[in-house]
Symmetry: C2
Subunit: 460 residues, 2 copies
Amino acid sequence: MEFSEWYSDILEKAGIYDLRYPIKGCGVYLPYGFKIRRYSFEILRKLLDETGHDETLFPMLIPENLLAKEGEHIKGFEDEVFWVTHGGKTPLEVKLALRPTSETTMYYMMKQWIKVHTDLPLKLYQVVNTFRYETKHTRPLIRLREIMSFKEAHTAHATKKECDAQIEEALTLYKAFFDEIGVPYVISKRPEWDKFPGADYTMAFDTIYPDGKTMQIGTVHNLGQNFAKTFELEFETPDGEKDFVYQTCYGISDRAIASLISVHGDEKGLVIPVDVAPIQIVLIPLLFKGKEEIVMDKIKELNNTLKSEFRVHLDDRDIRPGRKYNDWELKGVPLRIELGPRDIENGHALIVRRDTGEKITVEYSNILEEVEKIVSMYKENLKLKAEEKVKSFITVLDFENDVNSLSEKVKAKLLENKGIILIPFNESIYNEEFEELIDASVLGLTTYEGKEYISVARTY
Amino acid sequence: MEFSEWYSDILEKAGIYDLRYPIKGCGVYLPYGFKIRRYSFEILRKLLDETGHDETLFPMLIPENLLAKEGEHIKGFEDEVFWVTHGGKTPLEVKLALRPTSETTMYYMMKQWIKVHTDLPLKLYQVVNTFRYETKHTRPLIRLREIMSFKEAHTAHATKKECDAQIEEALTLYKAFFDEIGVPYVISKRPEWDKFPGADYTMAFDTIYPDGKTMQIGTVHNLGQNFAKTFELEFETPDGEKDFVYQTCYGISDRAIASLISVHGDEKGLVIPVDVAPIQIVLIPLLFKGKEEIVMDKIKELNNTLKSEFRVHLDDRDIRPGRKYNDWELKGVPLRIELGPRDIENGHALIVRRDTGEKITVEYSNILEEVEKIVSMYKENLKLKAEEKVKSFITVLDFENDVNSLSEKVKAKLLENKGIILIPFNESIYNEEFEELIDASVLGLTTYEGKEYISVARTY
């Protein structure tokens, strides 16, 4: 099955996201999908809270004159902004944009809060919906008109040094986040022509989808003093001088969810990383005539034992076990535990791993410990598999002075192996003309195994 | 100080909400305010999750034809809907409403999901931003153009009986929620002319603000089959017949936060209920020359002891203790613990309650237990005080056949005691004409101490 078909199919069948809403690029997070989102963003929140970021909530509407304040920024967004022009039947005096992102909103407010160096650093974030009038093909959780979950962090600092250090902190946080949700990544410094509108430079996380195309899943922008000058974010330094703050911003969206689904899934359905799984363990009783009560009693006991540490679901529906297996494999539940009369007689239980399909018979008396062990193997394996997949998608080419010959080789490799092609850095090909020649995107400058490359790929 | 002045003042000074945004009725949840919101809505989420409600996320934009599908419903909202008319520079073919509430969105989708009685009950909720083009005076967290937090639950049932039972469940949940965040309430069945547009009837929670005006803080609507017929929510019953589902919906907004602030605050600032306090205990070291290290070591130890159960903050700023006391009293931190050299010598610590101002010397060796005891007294006291306040605002009048004389008495009482006036039910005054006569609102039918009354009040 083609990846994109598999993807649409699994979103519907596993109850992740329903796109049958009468506006293109707008859909519904279904209960199961919402739980994955909730657990994922809780991990992100925890990482941010622990490093001194404060959660806030800013307005969704932006007056036109405020959005237009930063020239480059508005140029980057003006074709894709939704505009509110009426309240009831009354035309508004100033039209209002649905936030495409919140720099202008947040920096307008920061102006009220930042007066002196002791007000800094300021490290804020919010998790909100944002909007883009996409005219291109939309794709659920990947290219939406309503991005339902956008975690955007915005920081302000007294010195360039602290600002640069914040970029490092953001990269570290995002690495930790993607590691925890099991999504592998390649980090690149985006080329000038593809950086965030208004930024000094942009660092980006890309992952690779099963079809070999890359997906941008996180960005970290060093804004320098650009926005600060526009928004007059001036403060008094310890020496009593005036200076503009240095700023960073960084964001992660629903694409994190799309990616953890896409990277791990297989032909049977989802394979969910343990930490974000709505159900971590499903219990299936194997009922035989006359033994129903013994089995149900035992499996309820097991449910209680495991509940203290895991999100467990006891599937006691009156359908045959085989159908239950299929249902929960489709939904990507990490572990399934089967318990029948013979298991109980022998003091055993059967654990089945979703990632490898492996069946493991364990001592019932020791089950919590056994489950913990298998859960940590599952985590380790998912991480390894994801990293291997990404590695298998990376090809290193030699640089050649003959641009035409080089670009032919790149194109051939992109057709053959897909994924990311790395070429040792050379200024002569680091430009948009090269993108046109290879009919693919320059992701930017990527450090890989200690060396610096230009990375190129077909992107989503 | 006037209540409304106190309220605006405290939002700013305590860092709850900043309204200096260039759109009327739109503002920013600041870090401290956001935490109160987060803890409050977590309580609500937990209550909903435990009773089988599933969290979801639906689109924010509603096509005009979908919003207009239910005639009464759209009539109730059409004057206050914000309309998106353009994407970039392109006029949209169908204009899009910013959701004022999500009945139409959700029921359009329910049509895709409900086919047969086994698909029921369906109990969904979401916590989202909603929008009203308010032309009246706006007020932070009370009357907003962007309602930043709206928890809306929507359920569908196979029978009227189950639907009615769901109304009871919703009332029970909301009671538990307001009890936990310490906001007292009076429940009324709203009169016909004030029910939710499209509902069979509306039950509402009102609390009373310090100025004697009531604030609607939660509503529970029995929609019967009204929306189901419009949205064709038909299903196959166990007998193979066709029927329309029975529906309820119920919502709680930022007003819950506004109310817990307003009901408990005093002239020194906020008094926050323990369960939603961003900081539950603040530790203040009393430093004397030469004893700094002893005190700091001990108070760090105390911090570690208490952290296991409470949200604790150690205030080690280099300012005098008096200023710290003021800061944390303003922010409404439930308990303050002071520790100085003499306390350490005597094996004591001093605990100060924010609600009563009481100072309690406790044995340091037993401090966790002592704190737990005081915390539970604090909770109990806040609940009692809030209930007493509401009771003191309730006046019962006798019914009189002479409507003019009765309305004069109501008006006098409203001037004198403010709050809610209860009048034994009589059909002759249960109408909008009576509202005009008394220049106040009929809240509806209220059961109070076992009897049924018509309740009237000045409302926000």
